[in-house]
Symmetry: C2
Subunit: 349 residues, 2 copies
């Protein structure tokens, strides 16, 4: 669970040994980041996601090391052509344990177009400015992990801090959700319990609210409301409380990714599986690709954003996926057991 | 090319032996269809697509027979829950030659919502009616063929007759396009020549115009304008000429599917291929899935249509597809040779 080499510093202060704490150089100039860190949420968020990226990548690579595989994360540090930020895309492909694991951070600033401001206003944000672009800043981490073994679930998470220079302009878009191929009830309970615990510390109403939001969001509506997976928590435009409380809540959720997921990998990655189970995994991955391409708001936003790094956005797509016409599931099969939960989400804790 | 058992009757008159001419019972009652056939475009189109479906399915099955494979088309005749028509979905899966071949016809009628009418008006259609739903009828055939061998291209075609009961309400949406994985210039020339020939018989301006429309339509814009394949012809809202000429032109294009494609399959389906070539095919199929899910108007229309048969619409998705982060093509490779044409479409005839 906690390999000895794993850096477990989850704070948002600039580390003493940045080379060991980050996958690559920060996007923001190191000196500026270090100087701003104590008092700026922008800097604290960047440092936090840099550290979380490193820790999560290490946690995953550890399994490859254990299996004597040579697969390691490829690190792509990129900057936007307009100079307004960049990101670090880390991808491990064709591993023994992980067929494709992507962990991406990006830190981008610029002018938010009037249209985007009006969309936020329509969702309830208060802006004093009218018809002028506003400065924005966004720093986020997003990740999708596609394990090879169909008994290991896919995880996705996305934690993002978004700031618009105007009244009421600091929001978080966030979530973690799990997509198993076969239902292991203990794993589902472990995963949801961990998320609930990190929510309950802040507000007892958060977990039920964000759990439902997650079930509603990851819904393939045109497939008779088939959910992508067993959910988790999801929220956007989160700025209910004091800024420091918001930030701490989001950090707490993000820091739950490793303890909620890694034990589930540990429990299942060495299980044997049949060709039929692999087939089912690939068919479910087809649905995963459908959700991401057709319905995911983040992906759609990326398609419409000039200068967006499509290769980093579509890192989420499965390494291999199947589609079959007229799939017929047997009533008492493990595949049908999962399908029933996807059609009718249940409470795990 | 023309197996002896292949029914080659491409007329739109009711056949003497319907059981041998259609894959299943027509959607419209047989007696009514037969009675209306001589004077109704609705009936003539239904008969025509029923025959074309049968002939195309037979042409494809012939290859499976030759390879001693047991794969045959599964025939799903379905009717809409509201009683307003239905379709015949024919799918061959896991064949020796065709990994997934879908040939679908549908015949649907009902009331066209005001919003859809306004969208057509915005595209230039003249309707006298305002703010009332209008009766519509649509009969179409659509098909996507995913061969197993990466040296055999994927073909897609879609020929549709759409009638709205009002002035100027009879239109065709149509097209055929080819998606090779490796560029065989002779095949590309053969394919485009056949389409050009069927266009030139009606109007010399049609092929250049509809070839360009096809290149512009099957464009994955967010992938730096990478085309899905080498194109073909594409047009919608076609009702330039006299109704009988329109109908004959569309039939002529649709009847070009078999002679333009089957010889290309014949030339290549027994070629050997490497694991690397198979891999490239699967990666290109990932792009195919992206286009269909993100950009194709027909698919998007289906997602938004209550009661649409999603399983028939998404029949177009590849049986197996791959996505890889950071694909790097060698400058002089056959893969790069294809990519250059996808980025910069060329004239084949």
């Amino acid at each position: 669970l906690k390999p000895s080499f794993l850096n477990t510093d989850v704070s948002d202060t600039y580390p003493n040994k940045p080379l060991e704490s980050f996958m690559a150089e920060p996007i923001t100039d190191k000196q500026i980041l270090q100087k701003n860190a104590p008092n700026s949420y922008q800097a604290r968020m960047e440092i936090f996601i840099l550290k979380l990226q490193k820790q999560f990548c290490q946690s995953l690579e550890h399994f490859e090391v254990e299996q004597n595989s040579n697969s390691r994360f490829l690190i792509d540090r990129w900057t936007r052509e307009d100079g307004h930020g960049g990101g670090i895309t880390c991808v491990l492909q064709d591993g023994e344990v992980f067929e494709k694991a992507g962990v991406n951070i990006s830190v981008v600033h610029g002018k938010l177009p009037v249209q985007a401001i009006e969309q936020m206003r329509a969702r309830g944000h208060q802006f004093t400015a009218r018809n002028v672009p506003l400065d924005f800043f966004v720093a986020g981490i997003s990740s999708v992990i596609h394990p090879r073994n169909p008994h290991v679930p896919t995880i996705h998470f996305n934690y993002r801090y978004f700031e618009v220079t105007d009244v009421d302009g600091k929001v978080h878009w966030c979530g973690t959700d799990l997509t198993p191929y076969y239902l292991n009830e203990n794993d589902c309970k472990h995963f949801h319990s961990a998320l609930k615990k990190s929510c309950d510390k802040y507000d007892l109403s958060f977990y039920p609210k964000y759990k439902k939001w997650c079930d509603d969001y990851f819904n393939i509506s045109y497939r008779s409301n088939e959910r992508r997976g067993i959910g988790g928590i999801f929220f956007d435009d989160f700025n209910d409380a004091k800024q420091e409380d918001c930030f701490n809540f989001v950090k707490s959720c993000a820091n739950t990714v490793i303890p909620s997921y890694i034990p589930v990998v540990q429990n299942n990655y060495q299980r044997t599986y049949t060709a039929q189970e692999r087939d089912w995994q690939l068919l479910r991955r087809g649905r995963y690709a459908e959700f991401n391409l057709v319905l995911d708001r983040g992906t759609k936003f990326g398609f419409q954003t000039p200068g967006a790094r499509i290769e980093s956005i579509l890192m989420s797509l499965p390494p291999l996926a199947k589609w079959k016409y007229g799939l017929d599931l047997k009533e008492d099969s493990p595949e049908m057991k999962l399908m029933k939960v996807l059609k009718q989400p249940k409470e795990w804790v």
